[in-house]
């Protein structure tokens, strides 16, 4: 056991057997270390690694170590997970296991029978099981060493408008999954499944049924198809035993005339008991949203001093342009501050956190200019939080759109969103990596990016004093996390839609990010060692 712990801290030794010891719940609680065991590395969504072999003093000598080409890659959005020297990457309906030290494939599982091709954002792991969701909402468990199928369960009906893109979240002995489809009409839910069999343990809808509390925030017409999708993974506080999951827009996205009211529990974060599936509290960021501002930014769980006392808070940079701090025990609103300059739809928020809306910013048939843009001030790209600097690093987009609405009769599952957000040709968007101080809401520093304004890449920060992020021009970039000073960059030559991770294998720290079609991995420069061709490989047997 002790040997394994040492191994986990520094990664596999050079000629190594992958451990027979499966991942435990406790391992996930201790992640990240050499391993990276959840989408965000840890349960709390901080996406911050204690590794510091690569640091602000030597990151300038970072070089590519290996590249893995995903043959089927068109737009990779995966955040890999890594366990004991094996990396698990996903794409639409497939998982591949790679030697994390060399980038060579160990196994490849592809579900050729899936009805739906969608991007896929990653896998989860527990015991010897690697979990992922197919585009058509089958939750699949694969053997981590062979890729053999252990079980394969349908968890949502595609004929009701569902699809899946998310990385599952493992909590204790169960696997949590959500659904997409909220732009075409469906009823969002989150469900938990036995990690050993896939059996459904509970299901929590994010739109109340008729007669339930919250149903009064909908008009009769659309409550059955109200959206509030759960298309991004959540975070978890083991001490409080609460899962935090965000929800998407109400449907139709841009026309609210047929769904008057706040439209609970759309555009919200919901705190859930993972044992029972019961909602403990919720906070709605954008009541009655009409700008497609899903709340799918990450709920990041940290403890900070607040008015002289330690407080368990939840940080969240919302598409609507406000950076929120909530009490994650109770859901109490603490503060919201604008984190973009281009924000004109609300004057601020009141003392309960409800936006003070500016009249005339709703979408209209002729078009209404409003800020932020439909993609939001940030989005699902991962932020990081470094407790040493006390800063929250978030990719931010400064852009306005013209919002157009349509009052055409909604048709569920017919790709009808009730309008659109359209980019203003003369006002292109500009991305920044922005460091925010959660204690004040103030910006500590900004790093502006160049590029077409189309990226979706996030961040990872490290104890080495470096924050890595994918930029809008296809670079992986390293900045000094204390002040935003540029330290290193590498051009991958492709648009980026994924967030980087860091891990160790063979005692060496690596940084990995998926580009559009490839997995790139970087490490510190070492002179090459000559490798003679082995005698047995000189001729084919």
């Amino acid at each position: 056991m002790r040997g394994f712990i040492l191994c986990a801290l520094i990664g596999l030794p050079a000629a190594a057997q992958v451990t027979d010891r499966g991942v435990t719940f406790d391992d996930i609680r201790q992640s990240p270390n050499a391993n990276w065991l959840t989408y965000a590395g840890d349960y709390k969504g901080t996406r911050h690694s204690p590794l510091k072999q690569i640091h602000r003093g030597n990151v300038a000598s970072l070089v590519p170590k290996w590249t893995y080409h995903m043959e089927t890659g068109r737009r990779l959005e995966v955040s890999p997970i890594v366990y004991d020297g094996v990396m698990y990457v996903t794409n639409s309906n497939e998982v591949q296991a790679l030697d994390a030290g060399t980038g060579r494939r160990i196994w490849w599982y592809k579900d050729e029978q899936s009805e739906i091709q969608r991007v896929n954002r990653g896998a989860a792991i527990l015991g010897d099981h690697v979990f992922f969701a197919t585009g058509d909402c089958h939750l699949v468990a694969l053997d981590r060493k062979t890729g053999a199928v252990l079980w394969h369960k349908k968890y949502a009906d595609t004929s009701k408008g569902y699809f899946a893109t998310l990385a599952p979240l493992v909590v204790k002995d169960r696997v949590l999954v959500g659904v997409g489809g909220g732009d075409s009409g469906m009823r969002g839910f989150l469900s938990a499944h036995s990690a050993s069999t896939g059996e459904e343990l509970w299901k929590l809808y994010t739109i109340p049924a008729r007669g339930e509390a919250g149903a009064e925030t909908w008009s009769e017409k659309l409550i059955d198809w109200g959206g509030a999708a759960t298309w991004l993974s959540g975070t978890y506080d083991p001490e409080l035993n609460l899962v935090y999951w965000t929800t998407g827009n109400p449907w139709p996205d841009f026309f609210g005339g047929d769904r008057r009211g706040d439209n609970l529990y759309s555009c919200s974060v919901i705190a859930i008991d993972p044992d029972t599936g019961k909602r403990k509290w919720h906070f709605q960021f954008t009541p009655h949203d009409t700008h497609d501002w899903d709340a799918q930014g990450w709920p990041v769980l940290i403890d900070i001093p607040w008015k002289g006392q330690a407080r368990k808070v939840l940080l969240h940079a919302n598409r609507n342009g406000f950076f929120y701090v909530l009490d994650r025990v109770t859901g109490e609103f603490l503060r919201a501050t604008p984190f973009v300059d281009k924000l004109d739809w609300a004057k601020g928020v009141d003392d309960k956190g409800r936006p003070i809306e500016v009249p005339g910013k709703d979408p209209s048939p002729a078009g209404t200019k409003a800020c932020p843009c439909v993609r939001g001030a940030s989005n699902w790209m991962s932020p990081s939080y470094d407790s040493e600097t006390g800063l929250f690093y978030v990719v931010t987009l400064e852009q306005c759109d013209v919002y157009v609405s349509s009052s055409k009769e909604p048709e569920p599952m017919h790709n009808f969103a009730g309008g659109a957000g359209e980019q203003i040709p003369t006002e292109p968007g500009k991305f920044y990596l922005r460091a925010l101080d959660p204690k004040t809401g103030n910006r500590a520093w900004d790093y502006p990016m160049t590029g077409p304004g189309t990226m979706w890449a996030g961040t990872v920060s490290t104890a080495g004093g470096v924050v890595f992020f994918g930029d809008d021009d296809g670079h992986l970039v390293a900045l000094d996390s204390a002040n935003g000073r540029h330290l290193w960059h590498f051009n991958m030559g492709q648009p980026l839609f994924a967030s980087p991770v860091t891990y160790a294998a063979g005692g060496k720290q690596y940084v990995t990010i998926a580009s559009q079609t490839d997995i790139f991995t970087f490490g510190l420069f070492e002179p090459a060692t000559a490798v003679p061709v082995l005698e047995g490989l000189k001729t084919l047997k």
């Binding site: 596999l12 050079a14 000629a15 190594a16 057997q17 992958v18 027979d20 020297g85 094996v86 030697d99 030290g101 060399t102 060579r104 494939r105 160990i106 196994w107 579900d111 050729e112 029978q113 089958h138 053997d143 060493k145 062979t146 890729g147 053999a148 199928v149 252990l150 079980w151 394969h152 060692t529 490798v531 061709v533 082995l534 005698e535 047995g536 490989l537 084919l540 047997k541």
Partner: protein
């Protein structure tokens, strides 16, 4: 081989739903058409595509997605007109003969689970157990790790592919399952299958199911065989009935429900 020829007429398969403006294959699911198509194929196509569609100068017609994703009418036109810019000429045959060829080629590549196959799967499960298949293969999480997972093999491979894989395992070794022996510089020897290897690294699964990630610089030597660890004598060990039942059992291994059907569903025109 003789058994295969006897069985082939029974392999009746599904196909992609035809487009609205395409004529149907009038012979879909007709056992006599499969057999007639086989004879025509052997005489007219086998020289390039292989006697059983395994490929040669021309493409493999058994495993390719090209065949699975083509409608029968698209295949009909390819046979009738040939492939411009390639060695494949058009066929000067009556329409009925071309439809027979299409029906035969469709039978070659269709997933086994979508075909009506001979044999009794429940008896085949017993054959699978007594023959030791689970020592190397896994189905739904039970079994060994040296061979490919068979949990979904009926949806992934054709009946013929499965049958040949049992009878002649050495003819097709799935990537990642080549036998390997490596000697480490520390004196240890590891035996198993190479899930992957290069001059610079090995990803090896040993016979006990342990996974090793090895740098070539840590090895004294390594040998990789182009052979299969699977015994090649199942054709002698098993009776014809047992073999038929075993392949029937494998044909039914799917992760999603798959319906074996004689005729494809029709979506166009009035209900009939």
């Amino acid at each position: 081989m003789r058994l295969f020829l006897l069985l082939l007429p029974a392999v009746l398969c599904a196909q992609p739903v035809p487009r609205m403006d395409e004529p149907d294959n009038p012979l879909t699911g007709d056992p006599a058409a499969v057999e007639a198509g086989r004879k025509l194929f052997t005489a007219s196509c086998g020289a390039c595509h292989g006697a059983t569609g395994e490929g040669g100068r021309g493409p493999n017609l058994r495993d390719g997605k090209l065949i699975r994703r083509s409608s029968d009418f698209q295949m009909f036109n390819t046979i009738r007109k040939g492939v411009p810019g390639s060695d494949m000429p058009g066929a000067n045959l009556p329409d009925a003969n071309i439809w027979q060829l299409v029906t035969f080629v469709r039978a070659l590549g269709a997933p086994a689970a979508e075909t009506i196959v001979p044999g009794e799967p429940s008896r085949g499960e017993l054959v699978y157990a007594k023959s030791g298949c689970a020592g190397c293969h896994m189905i739904s999480g039970r079994g060994g790790t040296l061979g490919p997972d068979l949990s979904n093999i009926g949806a992934a491979r054709s009946y013929e592919y499965l049958r040949e894989s049992v009878l002649k395992p050495g003819e097709r070794i799935s990537a990642g399952y080549q036998p390997v022996t490596v000697k480490l510089k520390d004196g240890r020897t590891l035996e198993g299958v190479a899930r992957n290897y290069t001059n610079y690294s090995f990803q090896l699964m040993d016979k006990d199911g342990k996974l090793y990630l090895l740098n070539a610089s840590d090895l004294a030597d390594a040998k990789v065989d182009v052979a299969s660890l699977m015994p090649a004598d199942y054709g002698e060990r098993l009776s014809k009935e047992e073999m038929t039942d075993l392949v029937a059992y494998l044909s039914k291994r799917t992760l999603r429900p798959v319906e074996a059907r004689r005729r494809p569903e029709r979506r166009r025109g009035a209900p009939r």
